[in-house]
Symmetry: C2
Subunit: 146 residues, 2 copies
């Protein structure tokens, strides 16, 4: 479904929202270990999420690391997809047809449409905070190797 990059972005952001605050920043090493992702590749993705502080924040130096503000926690998951340039995924034709549209629909168009809309709805209505709270309850999901 999603690329590795997007999966890591979602997992990392949820983890950061769960565990961080301005006072308690998380290092790349901790994040990558926690979400079971390759550290260097994860660094690149965190950079995307940090661009213009669009989703998360970072500071360098001792006791530096990544954190998320209360304000950013109110952002929809969609923002994460935007940050890693995978936001158009749900817009695309399921058969990969460039010209597929309402007026020129592919044979799956109208059956896929409601599903697509549910996906969009899922990522638009859920905030980062809501997800991180769910993560608190529903077992520590995030470590991929456990």
């Amino acid at each position: 479904m999603f690329s590795k990059a997007t999966e890591y972005a979602l997992r990392a952001t949820i983890y950061i929202a769960q565990k961080s605050s301005v006072e308690k920043k998380l290092s790349l090493a901790e994040i990558a270990t926690a979400i079971d992702s390759p550290p260097s590749f994860t660094a690149k993705i965190l950079q995307l999420l940090t661009k213009d502080n669009c989703v998360i924040n970072s500071v360098r130096g001792p006791n530096g690391g990544f954190y998320i503000t209360e304000k950013s926690k109110q952002l929809p998951l969609k923002k994460i997809l935007e940050a890693v340039n995978e936001n158009d995924l749900f817009e695309k034709c399921i058969l990969g047809l460039k010209k597929c549209s309402e007026t020129k629909p592919c044979p799956l168009h109208f059956q896929y449409k409601p599903i697509k809309q549910e996906l969009i709805h899922l990522f638009q209505t859920n905030t980062i905070q809501e997800l991180s709270e769910k993560a608190d309850n529903e077992s520590l999901f995030i470590n991929n190797s456990i």
Copy 2:
């Protein structure tokens, strides 16, 4: 969503179901042109679909080509995904967590679940024939460049 390979597999199969019969086989060249896919790569994918005649059939030589039997037209789209080994796509965790399950769910698990089931339902209930008939009505969808 899907890989190029899967998109081509779906488009090709629908096109073959639309236009072919045992008497009227379609050449690789015609199929690739019609669905706007790279011919050689498409050849590989058609081979997968032809393995054990699981979805489509082929014959070599003059007036050879690809066709689909009436029986195979009754197969669900899911068969196409199986043939190109992308059938597990809908089984996977949306966050890419290997151990995500009903008892150890990721924070998106229960919200994604119904969507996943609709996707599975879509590919399990629609037959190749049904799709190709839709393609007949809903404009010739398949050429990607028009």
